[in-house]
């Protein structure tokens, strides 16, 4: 019972402790075991936390028993318990996958470092999600980002170094902007506790430093979540990182950044009249639409599947931001549920691409010709993932699209309804580039010898692909949680 009450701390502490352990133990199989246990424990804790929150409402945990707002508070509500499940769930699946996947991509003597960085990155992402303290968010953001830079740099291709460097530059600018914004808010409100900040901001709303803080935080976080046109780092990072890293980051890193934005916008600035002073909704709407159309169009012209789906991620982030810009329960529900659904979908796609890279020796469209014959199940999995990106019924993506359309209709914005469905057609175009290559082209001669996918890779991948369909059919968990979370975020104003 005592242990149960410390779950919020353990959520972060367990992977944090696992990190130095992997370094100390060094042997790669032992390091793997430690990392695996840590990530599975993290998932178990996340599920328990979700259950607790579902049952008894928001949990507050004072680190070191220093009461909020003086001490650091970990605060678990419907929204972040959902994010915790996504992050730890993906980690729990990607980790066993990575064991076989990095075999071909990372030199064996560096494997234990891979696991170190992986659990550190997990720690950071979980920390961002769970903490109720603004400065703590920044700290964990740096933990996750620094480890992510290293993970990306581990890629086999030398261009991975450049990708990591690019991400490092952009990420650091983002983090700096974020900390400036947080600093300004601290200056004006005298507190770092998010909940407290949300209450106190009412007295200083509309002052120039608060508006500046909003701007800094928006730009900083947008860099991290790859909001168009601040997405430049993302395609390279996803393309050149080791497959397992692409899968993990694509499913979680940008999603956690979106969470940060949601938290600041709705829990901190939400109750104040800050939005009345700045046309944030219109701006986000424009950027979201630009991202949806521009990134999807760019995706159509890519020749490497990893890069194609990376641009697709930028476009899908547009949907999430579009949902936020509606500032309504349905809109936020769409955002939150899409954050989850897209995480699952993209995670699955990148895991599948890892299998393709291993089996066919690359992921360019030319190389995957005839994939339907060479690797039928993997190929079919990518098709399912692709259908979810388009938003075909029966997949998770449809659920998100439905709520997004509903939100647009509630606002009476018919033109937006058509923008949403038109951009999903662009997704159909880039997905069908893969389908035609995989099924309507004969396999190349040099891909005749397909390496069998190790079961450590295929089983986690299969689970995630099944999850795409599952969350497209049974939405009680996703929609249930997301709509509660959306209602709570907007609670003060309705």
């Amino acid at each position: 019972m005592n242990l149960l009450s410390h779950l919020p701390a353990l959520q972060v502490v367990i992977p944090l402790i696992a990190a130095p352990l992997t370094v100390l133990l060094r042997r790669r199989s032992v390091a793997f075991a430690v990392a695996l246990i840590a990530s599975w424990a993290a998932l178990a804790i996340a599920v328990l936390l979700w259950l607790q929150v579902a049952e008894s409402g928001t949990l507050s945990y004072a680190i070191g028993s220093w009461p909020a707002p003086w001490g650091i508070e970990y605060r678990v509500d419907r929204l972040n318990s959902f994010i915790l499940i996504l992050v730890s769930g993906i980690a729990a699946l990607v980790l066993p996958y990575s064991r076989a996947s990095i075999e071909a991509e990372v030199p064996p003597q560096q494997h234990y470092l891979f696991y170190t960085m992986f659990v550190l990155c997990l720690t950071g992402l979980l920390g961002i999600a769970i903490t109720g303290d603004a400065f703590n968010i920044f700290v964990f953001l740096e933990v996750s980002s620094l480890s992510a830079y290293v993970l990306i740099a581990l890629g086999r291709d030398r261009r991975a170094l450049f990708a990591a460097y690019q991400y490092l530059l952009m990420g650091s600018i983002g983090a700096t902007f974020l900390v400036i914004g947080i600093g300004l808010l601290y200056l004006m409100t005298g507190t770092l506790n998010l909940a407290d900040m949300g209450l106190r901001i009412a007295t200083v709303q509309g002052t120039r430093p608060v508006l500046a803080a909003l701007a800094f935080i928006t730009v900083g976080v947008s860099l991290k979540l790859a909001l168009f046109p601040l997405h430049q780092w993302l395609p390279n990072a996803y393309t050149f990182a080791p497959s397992a890293v692409s899968a993990f980051l694509a499913a979680t890193a940008t999603k956690v950044a979106v969470y940060v934005l949601l938290r600041f916008y709705f829990s901190v600035f939400g109750e104040s009249a800050v939005f009345a002073k700045l046309p944030m909704e219109q701006m986000m709407l424009l950027l979201a639409l630009a991202g949806m159309f521009a990134a999807s169009t760019i995706a159509i012209f890519q020749t490497d599947l990893k890069r194609l789906f990376a641009y697709s991620s930028v476009a899908q982030i547009g949907y999430i931001i579009l949902g936020m810009s509606f500032d309504s329960v349905s809109g936020l529900t769409a955002s939150i549920v899409h954050l989850f659904n897209h995480g699952v979908t993209k995670g699955a796609i990148y895991m599948l691409l890892g299998c393709v890279a291993l089996g066919m020796g690359g992921t360019t469209l030319a190389r995957v010709q005839g994939l339907g014959k060479r690797m039928p199940l993997t190929s079919f999995g990518i098709v399912i993932g692709g259908l979810s990106l388009i938003g075909v019924p029966g997949t998770a993506g449809f659920v998100s699209k439905w709520y997004l359309l509903l939100a647009a209709l509630e606002k009476g914005q018919w033109w937006l309804v058509f923008m949403i469905v038109l951009s999903s057609l662009l997704a159909a175009v880039y997905v069908w580039r893969f389908v035609e290559a995989a099924y309507l082209q004969e396999p190349r001669k040099d891909t005749a010898e397909v390496a069998a996918t190790p079961w450590l890779m295929s089983i986690p991948t299969a689970i995630l692909v099944i999850a795409i369909v599952y969350f497209g059919l049974d939405t009680s968990f996703t929609i249930g949680t997301a709509s509660d979370a959306a209602a709570a975020l907007l609670g003060g104003r309705r």
Partner: protein, 488 residues
């Protein structure tokens, strides 16, 4: 025996199970096709077991689960769905026999994939037929598009790829861009998407909005091939002929007009539309499609292309008849779904038989072919009579009802369209029959003597041709179902 609820579920489950079993027998073609036939027979048995229940006035149904809060995947068998399921499952058996003959004689590749996708398409069709709300229908509608795509691109050639692009592109764009927003909107304003007698939109929208929403729905259901969204149908003709026969003369296109009729009758409601006068434009658009497609068919030399445009035209009969909002023409529309299915599948069967036996694809090559293939071209002639609407073929009955409905509502535009198009139908079908039987075959220097197509194919096309005549003499079941629909 199955209860009605079990039979409904079996309607979807049986073909799905078949689709799972077929790949297991991929090394033994006879067993594989055996599984297809047994599956088809089992499906027909399930559907038939529902018929007496529906005829007795019951409307069995069940809720499978809630996909989204308030939006259920649910099924209910009403007369129209009953009729559609009956046609699709009945013709699947015949078509399977035909496929066996066709696919083997033409040595097609990837036959296992072919039969699997076929079974999946039929499962989706059953889902459409039994849907009890527009949401469920939409989901199965999309499944049907996706499951038929591999069939259209079956040959894997450049041409098949292009055909597949048009097929998927048009069907997916119309359903995503037009139908999906309409569906969300209907749910938003009505709070339900259930198919309800009398409609669910009464007093909710003004006349203009109703007309616009109807346009979103009718054009959004691209499978109904209303112009200008008809291009996918000729494009789909790159598929092997059994696909054109069952899917693009029966399952897919009928799913389209079936959905249109369902939407007009059970979502909008006759009275709502009639009061608002929101369906007049649809009569005109459908009428235009009927005439324009017939004119294109008249000029087409490729036989399958001519049949495809004939289908476009015939589908719009159903839409126009429904849009007239008259009980009599609705009976005509419902009957025409059945009648055209049986007739058009015969025509495609014949076209495929001609191709298999002689490798001829163009109308101009058919001189004297009736002398070599009397059964095939005889069946073709009977089915063509049905298309034109002459007795003793079933097409006469449905056209009679449609014409009566148009006259009863004094819709002279519709009357004119029906009369003119009948002439056009005769104009593009009779020359084929004339060529086949009365023009001497060209002197053939190379001498490729051929007789009838393989026996299985001839059996299949004779069966459906007999069906066209039988439906003329015994139209009781479809007629009763149609009557129940207008006076529930």
């Amino acid at each position: 025996m199955l209860t009605a609820e079990q039979a409904i579920l079996a309607g979807m489950a049986v073909p799905l199970v078949g689709a799972l079993l077929i790949p297991l027998a991929r090394r033994v073609p006879n067993l594989r096709e055996g599984i297809t036939l047994v599956t088809a027979a089992a499906l027909l048995a399930c559907v038939l077991s529902l018929l007496p229940v529906v005829l007795s006035g019951a409307r069995p149904g069940l809720v499978l689960f809630s996909l989204l809060p308030g939006l259920q995947i649910a099924f209910k068998v009403e007369p129209l769905g009953m009729l559609f399921a009956l046609i699709a499952s009945g013709l699947w058996i015949v078509n399977s026999l035909y496929s066996m003959g066709y696919m083997r004689s033409n040595k097609e590749a990837n036959q296992t994939r072919f039969y699997v996708c076929f079974a999946l398409a039929i499962a989706s069709t059953m889902g459409i037929a039994f849907s009890s709300n527009l949401f469920t229908l939409f989901i199965f509608y999309e499944f049907l598009t996706l499951s038929t795509y591999p069939l259209v691109t079956h040959h894997g050639t450049e041409k098949a790829r292009d055909g597949g692009r048009v097929y998927l592109g048009l069907l997916l764009s119309t359903s995503t861009v037009l139908l999906l927003p309409a569906l969300v909107f209907i749910w938003y304003i009505a709070g339900t998407t259930d198919f309800t007698v009398g409609g669910i939109l009464a007093d909710k929208l003004g006349p203009t909005e109703l007309a616009l929403l109807l346009a979103l729905c009718v054009f959004g259901i691209g499978k109904a091939a209303l112009m200008p969204f008809h291009r996918w149908l000729p494009a789909a003709m790159v598929a092997p002929t059994p696909v054109s026969a069952l899917l693009h003369a029966v399952a897919v296109v009928k799913a389209g007009v079936f959905s249109v009729v369902k939407v007009i009758v059970y979502v909008f409601g006759f009275d709502t539309l009639a009061t608002a006068g929101a369906a007049h434009w649809l009569v005109a658009v459908a009428g235009f499609t009927i005439i324009a497609a017939s004119v294109v068919a008249l000029k087409a030399n490729n036989l399958k292309r001519r049949l495809a445009y004939s289908t476009v035209s015939q589908l719009s009969y159903v839409i126009m008849a429904a849009a007239l909002l008259a009980p009599l023409s609705l009976i005509g529309a419902v009957l025409h779904i059945a009648v055209h299915a049986v007739g058009k599948i015969t025509l495609f069967f014949a076209a495929g038989a001609v191709y298999t036996a002689s490798h001829k694809t163009e109308v101009s090559q058919l001189d004297g072919i009736g002398r070599r293939m009397p059964w095939t071209m005889g069946a073709f002639a009977i089915a063509a009579l049905s298309m034109i609407g002459l007795p003793p073929a079933a097409g006469f009955i449905s056209k009679w009802y449609m014409l009566s409905g148009a006259m009863a509502t004094q819709h002279w535009l519709a009357v004119t369209v029906i009369v003119v198009s009948t002439l056009l139908n005769a104009g593009y079908f009779l020359p084929i029959i004339y060529r086949a039987f009365f023009v001497a075959p060209p002197a053939d220097p190379h001498g490729h003597p051929h007789g009838e197509a393989p026996l299985l194919m001839v059996i299949a096309l004779t069966t459906t041709a007999a069906g066209t005549v039988l439906l003329f003499f015994f139209p009781d079941v479809p007629l009763e179902l149609a009557r129940q629909m207008i006076s529930p």
